[in-house]
């Protein structure tokens, strides 16, 4: 059965690109436009992987990750940060928040699918 990925990013074009690429690779994709929306959608249905941007209005990525980790259902779900930089500070924060890894923007669809496959197959 196809796996479901939650993609959270306030940038519509990026989000659509991510969704499109992943869907083409056979995944189901749920989209959310900011952290709060992501959290709501994550609660509605437990997904197999979460991809989230950092800078978003209403609720940012780090807060979303932490909030997800507070949910029992999301203890084991891999979460990847989509970030524009890969500084140690960012990595440290992400890790502390509970992320499993990161993916630096901009990325091309091939790289995205490669990483996703590595994580959830």
């Amino acid at each position: 059965m196809a796996k479901t990925i939650l993609a959270v990013d306030d940038s519509g074009s990026l989000r659509q690109m991510v969704a499109f690429s992943l869907q083409a690779a056979g995944y189901n994709v749920v989209q959310a436009v900011d952290g709060q929306d992501g959290l709501n959608k994550a609660r509605e249905k437990t997904v197999d992987l979460v991809l989230t941007d950092q800078n978003m209005p209403i609720m940012d990525g780090l807060t979303l990750i932490k909030s997800l980790r507070d949910l029992g259902s999301y203890q084991k779900v891999p979460i990847l940060m989509l970030t524009t930089e890969s500084s140690d500070e960012m990595k440290a924060r992400g890790k502390a928040a509970g992320a499993n890894g990161w993916l630096v923007k901009p990325f091309d669809p091939k790289r995205l699918i490669e990483v996703v496959q590595k994580v959830i197959g």
């Binding site: 940038s11 519509g12 074009s13 990026l14 690109m17 499109f20 690429s21 083409a24 690779a25 436009v33 900011d34 952290g35 709060q36 929306d37 941007d53 800078n55 978003m56 209005p57 209403i58 609720m59 940012d60 780090l62 807060t63 932490k66 909030s67 980790r69 507070d70 029992g72 203890q75 084991k76 891999p78 524009t84 930089e85 890969s86 500084s87 140690d88 500070e89 960012m90 440290a92 924060r93 992400g94 890790k95 502390a96 928040a97 509970g98 499993n100 890894g101 990161w102 993916l103 630096v104 923007k105 901009p106 990325f107 669809p109 091939k110 790289r111 699918i113 990483v115 590595k118 994580v119």
Partner: protein, 776 residues
């Protein structure tokens, strides 16, 4: 598998455009001395978003500029750099360049490289200036960072002189730097006292001028926030952890939401992460150079929380983890939680703000709106229009029935009428947009134009939420722009001149929109020099226009709409487009609108545009002339009457007039204007419809009144052309076509006609008299 990225371009272009507009709006409104944090964040996010999208889709020119913008904005929003007017100007200039580059990608428009270079230089110099003061390279924004690279202390806010204020905390304590917003001295003192209950506290001055409190405590950040919440908004607080002594455990503790990593700790972190990963659960240990170049990486996989959020339980298999690390790891989630609390406080505030922003129509969130093509909306409106016509036809047939025998049917039709009206209103409102859509472009334009001309102009907008049909909004932009430019260009005087006239140096330009009856009235008012009546008359005469000294003020002012009538236009950017006052008037008229001018020399001018709320529906009165039926817009009708013979007068040179309550109104015979046959040649046998438009009154002479109804306006120009005196057509209840009269035009035509016929009859009389004399 390749994904065609170009299909996402359009979405990105729209997105970027909206973000740029929002950023500009915020920049124009921002208070440089005391900028709102949320606004700074929003502007930062805009630059950040555009950068991300531009990079993803390969628009590197935009990435370059947004990258520098983002850096500057990040530092400003973290209060590491103070916002200045130079910043705002530079950001606005950058916005222009980004828009230009966006246009280049979207429409293939030319991009002025000189402008691009200029903006880059500007932004760079701003970055340098602050960099010198800061002495910190923006290390964390470069994508490739080796783990051992030092991260400067000043990267994170509030890191100035805290070390001096307080000694480093003892073991088990954390040192927090709390940057306060602007507060009364008394409040700061109170706060310091309160915090003193948590531990050792010292106050100092931050480089931004605000107070920085440093606190050594074993309390959590959330405790600090709670205490401060009594006096201020938690969002205005900036709390960071001071740089803690290097040591692996401490370093890990320092790695949380607000902190950053010290140099020594860095290597440790890297190695500890690596260690986790190497001992991990089958996921790749991709930390280190490799991963960074590849652009992604993983931390150790998560094991389920026994009880959230207490522990970061690490599996027993990872033997390489030290006890201290576990202890600290246990400590960090707690701090994560407090950071989480702070964030949720921010969330609430954002949620409150965002609905307001969404109402302003800037929301791009897909959850609250649907993008619909304009053609679909137009089709919907057309179909509803047809429905209205059909319903009118049914109503007409119903009226012929005996109400007693067909009561049920009549009631049902009545219900149908109400339903149709409601549907119509609802559908029309889909196309209604707030005037703000038009007004929003003016702050920037006025600022730039006034600056260029060396004038000071304050722009005030009233009624920006007044709604108008989208089609009209689009068509009002150009004329309104021209009027605003005119006001700034020719209306408002230079500051010294204003001072000499005892006026405030800054001119006031007011844009207002309001609903009045069935129309919307948009006014452009300036408190400038006003129109010079004599100058206008002189110019008109020299242009060969037919004017007289006796013309009313409002007539004289209307002269500025005569073609070719500019009085020394300064060539500005827009003038080049060929938009003159005459085109403005024409455009307004084409929208079934009218334009009026009020002015007082020395005090200012008001140009008032009146437009129907929508192009599609009209409340009209139908009248008959011979075998034809015409419709007159109800809002332009003052009253209707059948005159008595004694009220009719003929004035030499002016034609027939009718006396109504002390006023004499010119009688305009429609049959004469339209050259149409009718049996009713005498006004006392017909009907006079008293009409008023653009400040002028007249009495339209027709055969009879037929009825009153709401009609769907059909354009004649779609398949035909504009006919003078006619503003459109409609389909009546019986399926026949009736023409809708253009009242302002008719009044004008009537004047000319009466003048001519009056002159003719006068001339005729003169000829008769002369010939009589001759034959005498």
């Amino acid at each position: 598998m390749t994904v065609d990225m170009s299909q996402f371009y359009e979405v990105f272009f729209d997105e970027a455009e909206e973000l740029l507009a929002e950023a500009e709006r915020l920049l124009l409104a921002i208070d440089v001395a005391n900028p709102d944090n949320e606004d700074l964040n929003a502007i930062f996010r805009a630059a950040h978003s555009i950068k991300g999208g531009a990079a993803t889709f390969g628009f590197m020119d935009m990435t370059e500029i947004t990258h520098v913008l983002e850096n500057l904005l990040d530092r400003i929003r973290k209060h590491e750099m103070a916002l200045t007017v130079e910043h705002v100007d530079a950001f606005l200039a950058a916005k222009d360049v980004l828009e230009m580059e966006l246009d280049g990608h979207r429409h293939g428009a030319d991009v002025d490289q000189a402008q691009v270079a200029a903006v880059k230089t500007r932004l760079a110099s701003l970055t340098q200036a602050e960099a010198a003061a800061d002495s910190a390279p923006a290390a964390d924004t470069t994508p490739a960072v080796t783990p051992a690279a030092p991260v400067e202390a000043s990267q994170v806010s509030a890191h100035v002189a805290p070390a001096a204020a307080l000694p480093p905390p003892a073991d088990g304590l954390t040192q927090f730097n709390i940057l306060l917003p602007e507060l009364k001295e008394k409040d700061i003192a109170n706060l310091q006292e309160e915090l003193g209950l948590l531990g050792e506290v010292a106050g100092s001055k931050h480089e931004s001028g605000r107070t920085l409190l440093t606190l050594n405590t074993d309390s959590s950040e959330s405790d600090i926030v709670s205490i401060c919440s009594f006096i201020l908004d938690p969002d205005d607080l900036v709390i960071t952890q001071a740089m803690v002594d290097a040591g692996p455990a401490a370093a890990v503790a320092a790695e949380n939401a607000a902190g950053h990593v010290a140099e020594a700790g860095d290597t440790e972190t890297a190695s500890s992460v690596k260690v986790h990963e190497e001992a991990g659960y089958g996921l790749f240990a991709e930390e280190g150079k490799e991963a960074v170049e590849e652009g992604y990486g993983f931390f150790a996989p998560f094991t389920p929380h026994a009880d959230a959020p207490q522990s970061l339980k690490i599996d027993d298999n990872t033997a390489a983890i030290s006890q201290e690390e576990i202890a600290k790891a246990v400590a960090s989630p707690a701090e994560n939680v407090t950071a989480g609390n702070k964030n949720s406080a921010t969330t609430e505030k954002n949620e409150k703000r965002n609905p307001a922003r969404q109402e302003a129509g800037h929301a791009s969130a897909e959850t609250t709106s649907i993008r619909v093509g304009v053609e679909k909306v137009d089709q919907l409106i057309n179909l509803v229009g047809e429905l209205v016509i059909t319903q009118a036809m049914i109503e007409q047939r119903i009226n012929a029935l005996d109400p007693v025998h067909h009561e049920a049917l009549i009631n049902s039709v009545g219900q149908l009428t109400r339903n149709t009206r409601d549907l119509q209103e609802a559908v029309m409102s889909i196309r209604m947009m707030p005037m703000d859509f038009v007004f929003s472009r003016f702050p920037r334009m006025v600022r730039d134009l006034a600056g260029k001309l060396g004038k000071k102009v304050e722009l005030v907008t009233i009624g920006a939420s007044t709604e108008l049909d989208k089609g009209l909004i689009e068509r009002i932009v150009d004329p309104l722009t021209h009027l605003v430019r005119n006001s700034v260009d020719h209306g408002v005087e230079m500051p010294d001149k204003r001072k000499a006239a005892n006026k405030p140096e800054a001119g006031k330009l007011t844009l207002s929109a309001a609903h009045k009856g069935g129309s919307i009235v948009i006014e452009v008012t300036d408190d400038g020099a006003g129109l010079n009546r004599d100058k206008l008359l002189a110019k008109a005469k020299s242009n060969g226009l037919n004017v007289s000294e006796n013309m009313s003020d409002s007539d004289v002012y209307q002269l500025i709409f005569a073609p070719g009538f500019s009085t020394a236009e300064v060539v500005t950017d827009v003038s080049g487009r060929g938009v003159g006052m005459d085109v403005v008037k024409r455009n307004i008229a084409a929208m079934n609108g009218s334009i009026e001018i009020r002015s007082a020399q020395g005090y200012g001018t008001t140009i008032a545009i009146s437009l129907p709320l929508t192009l599609a529906i009209l409340d009209g009165m139908s009248v008959s002339l011979g075998s034809s039926v015409y419709v007159i817009p109800l809002n332009l009708i003052v009253e209707t009457l059948q005159p008595r013979a004694e009220d009719m007068k003929t004035v030499t040179g002016e034609g027939r007039m009718v006396h109504v309550r002390g006023e004499y109104l010119p009688v305009i015979a429609l049959h004469a204007l339209f050259d149409q046959e009718t049996e009713v040649a005498d006004p006392t046998q017909g009907v006079l419809v008293l009409i008023e438009a653009e400040g002028k009154k007249a009495a339209l002479f027709v055969d009879a009144l037929v009825g009153q109804q709401q009609v769907v306006i059909k354009s004649l120009e779609t398949n035909f052309k504009k006919i003078q005196g006619v503003s459109g057509a409609t389909i009546m209840g019986d399926g026949s076509v009736a023409l809708i009269l253009d009242v302002p035009a008719l009044i004008q035509m009537g004047q000319t006609h009466n003048y001519l016929t009056g002159a003719t009859s006068f001339a005729n009389k003169a000829v008769q008299t002369i010939s009589k004399e001759y034959t005498q």
